[in-house]
């Protein structure tokens, strides 16, 4: 008992000071098209290396983060830096279309909803339908470093207690019905957040016989958090964005 107390005191505070710090130098994170010149269709190295077809070359580079699995192959292959890693963590969006980024265009601006009644008290039911990576990062938001509780976020054991349904994974056939039943058990008003690329489009698993094409075929989605897996800070950002919390204002 005393040992535990002394250990705890020794740890001091683990929580990061700034809310959404950038990822460290050299991090291989979600890419972003830059203003560097793209060599165009004659090059197309990024297009052929992308395992999910997330990239198009037309007038510059178009990247759909809703399909991106953060493998880094495009960034590694690009000869001009027309696509690079983006160390910012506030990557969530309210509209599916806002996950599509184009060279030379400013990032879609994020319209935070007017803070609603939930914005400081967010009870989440998590449903996992995938490979576990995003689940691990969702679990990490409760740890002392990311400490989601300071934003009013907590996880609950039943959809009956929840305001937000946080879904990870591509939602294969066997989870179609359980997922919908879980949502229908939630009292109104309720929101669905798709965490991770699989939940947005099915990612690497889409278009197969298992019908694992993400959440959209089954439920309306209030916020999309891209990444494979998304960083815990991005998950916090996405949840806060979905409920209109002022925490989700973009820090520049």
């Amino acid at each position: 008992m005393l040992t535990s107390l002394l250990y705890a005191l020794k740890q001091r505070f683990a929580t990061g000071e700034s809310e959404f710090p950038e990822l460290p130098e050299g991090a291989r994170s979600l890419p972003v098209p830059t203003s560097e010149p793209c060599l165009g269709v004659e090059c197309s190295r990024c297009v052929s290396l992308c395992p999910t077809g997330a990239i198009r070359i037309g007038d510059g580079v178009t990247l759909d983060r809703g399909l991106c699995v953060t493998c880094g192959a495009c960034v590694e292959a690009c000869p001009t830096g027309a696509i690079q890693y983006d160390r910012g963590v506030q990557t969530a969006a309210l509209q599916r279309a806002d996950l599509i980024l184009r060279s030379g265009e400013p990032r879609p601006s994020r319209e935070t909803l007017r803070a609603g009644p939930f914005s400081r008290s967010i009870d989440i039911r998590e449903v996992s339908t995938g490979c576990n990576a995003t689940d691990l990062e969702v679990a990490a938001i409760s740890n002392p470093v990311f400490d989601c509780a300071r934003f009013g976020i907590q996880f609950v054991a039943s959809p009956r207690f929840a305001d937000v349904l946080l879904v990870t994974g591509p939602v294969g056939r066997a989870m179609h019905e359980p997922l919908v039943r879980c949502y229908e058990s939630m009292a109104e008003p309720s929101l669905v957040v798709a965490a991770g690329t699989c939940a947005i489009t099915g990612g690497l698993h889409r278009g197969g016989y298992a019908e694992a094409n993400g959440v959209l075929p089954h439920l309306p989605v209030a916020a999309f958090i891209p990444g494979c897996p998304p960083h815990p800070l991005s998950i916090i950002d996405g949840i806060c964005l979905a409920v209109g919390s002022p925490v989700a204002e973009v820090r520049t």
Partner: protein
């Protein structure tokens, strides 16, 4: 490098020869079982047998006649194959004749009972899939169904408890809810993209899956990565192991009400993921490993940062582990709970830290460990406490291995270039000690170098049965900690 040999037998001899082949030499073991369709349309039942001490593998196969609906079950003499046979039933519609618990494994009500993803029209007719939960009867027995959606942040799966009061008399585990069709996808994905799909099998073991895939492809070609690339891959694998075991120790702490331990280990897991960030650029080291070696050159500075971080992590881990494992209250919650008898480990071909906590000593890294002067971590009581202790010991061993590789020559070409097409009519096997245990990727190619069959054997496929048995006679309230102490993958099992 694993050399693979093939042996063809008749279907009549199948259930005598295969078990005999698993015993045909020291250290030989059953790996996996599946069915594939040869290019001429003939279905073959195939068993993969591993010989880790000689670094080779044997594929024993038997052709199935055209209208065939069944094959002789190996389960009566080789129980380790019992789930693999049920998977064959699900995907091919073939029955393992003589299997004592025949029912579907991964495809249940969401799938029409006559839809078999790998069967074709000429295989028909096939018997429909069925599933009945085992019923325990008697005064006072009640059933508790849990899942697929669970109360915590955990993958989907169904547990059907039959209880007498608070005590579990039987637990039936029914999975398949995470089935995404990964094996089928790996068969049709272009070679350069396969490694990304391979990582997604069970992404908390993404590095292990990427290495098993890379090695299977390299073994098809008969090439090896540079020793520097191999060392970097092994470091990445150990980082994944450290982070996962720390996460499990935190989860175990939480499940016995030790909130301080849960917080401490969650933080330390983050530090370990930071090692991954340093070496591989992201917390899960995504995209680092590829067939031929590693996908990019790792800058030298990263190695010195890694060495320093690993040193300070070791100190912190020791402190937190002692706090947890030497706490009398926690010991009482974990000692004698969820005991897994050693004979079950052998009979069901169980792998990983769970098997080693019940006295097993198989670790797919054996050769590598001895080269570094290390040994697999083992315990004998097979309870939750033993499984926690094995993890704590393995973290130390992994830190030792990190140090060992960091002091080896890390200067070398990141990758060996591979031809664009896979070689014709070959078999490649990759075996890795993932943090849950022995993981196998098994690839067979066609005449034109396309993939004929891609098989993944996650360690969890072998271990779920052990959990179901170990839970018996324990309190329902202890199930979360028992489950966590096994720490199995649902998605790796379901594929």
């Amino acid at each position: 490098m694993i050399r693979t040999e093939k042996r063809e037998v008749t279907l009549d001899d199948w259930d005598t020869i295969v078990p005999a082949r698993t015993r045909a030499g020291k250290g030989r073991r059953y790996g996996h079982l599946t069915v594939r369709r040869r290019q001429d349309g003939v279905r073959l039942v195939e068993a993969l047998i591993l010989d880790p001490l000689s670094e080779c593998a044997e594929v024993v196969c038997a052709p199935l006649p055209p209208a065939c609906q069944e094959f002789p079950s190996l389960t009566p003499s080789l129980p380790a194959a019992h789930w693999a046979e049920r998977l064959i039933g699900d995907f091919w519609g073939l029955k393992a004749r003589g299997h004592q618990r025949w029912k579907s494994l991964a495809l249940h009500e969401a799938w029409p009972a006559t839809e078999f993803p790998f069967a074709v029209v000429s295989d028909l007719p096939l018997r429909p899939r069925e599933y009945q939960f085992m019923k325990v009867e008697g005064p006072g027995i009640h059933e508790i169904p849990v899942g697929p959606i669970h109360a915590g942040i955990i993958e989907a799966g169904h547990f059907r408890f039959s209880c007498l009061g608070e005590v579990i008399t039987n637990l039936e585990i029914r999975l398949g809810y995470q089935h995404r069709g990964v094996e089928s996808r790996l068969t049709s994905t272009p070679l350069q993209h396969m490694r990304h799909v391979a990582e997604s099998v069970s992404s908390d073991s993404g590095t292990a899956n990427a290495i098993a895939h890379a090695e299977a492809i390299e073994n098809l070609f008969g090439i090896e990565p540079s020793s520097a690339a191999r060392s970097i891959r092994r470091m990445a694998l150990e980082i994944e192991r450290i982070a996962s075991h720390l996460g499990d120790l935190g989860g175990l702490s939480g499940d016995v009400g030790f909130a301080l331990g849960a917080a401490a280990f969650a933080r330390l897991r983050g530090v370990a993921l930071g090692l991954g960030q340093t070496l591989g650029g992201s917390r899960f080291q995504r995209g680092l490993v590829c067939p031929g070696g590693i996908a990019w050159r790792v800058e030298d500075e990263r190695f010195s940062v890694l060495a320093e971080s690993a040193r300070s992590l070791r100190e912190s881990v020791r402190e937190a582990s002692d706090l947890m494992l030497q706490n009398p209250g926690l010991q009482e919650r974990m000692e004698g709970v969820g005991a897994l008898a050693p004979h079950l480990v052998t009979e069901f071909g169980m792998v990983g830290p769970t098997s080693r906590a019940s006295g097993g000593n198989y670790d797919a890294r054996s050769i590598q460990l001895s080269a570094a002067g290390l040994a697999p971590a083992t315990e004998s009581a097979g309870d939750v406490l033993s499984r926690a202790r094995v993890r704590a010991k393995e973290i130390e061993t992994s830190l030792d291995l990190l140090q060992y590789h960091l002091s080896s020559d890390l200067d070398g070409p990141p990758r060996v270039e591979l031809p664009e097409r896979l070689p014709a009519c070959r078999v490649g096997v990759g075996v890795v000690e993932a943090w849950r245990g022995e993981l196998i990727h098994w690839v067979t190619t066609n005449e034109d170098g396309s993939v004929n069959r891609y098989c993944v054997r996650d360690p969890s496929l072998q271990n779920w049965t052990g959990l179901a048995i170990a839970a018996r006679h324990n309190l329902v309230a202890d199930f979360p900690v028992i489950n966590k102490s096994f720490g199995l993958s649902y998605s790796g099992n379901d594929l």
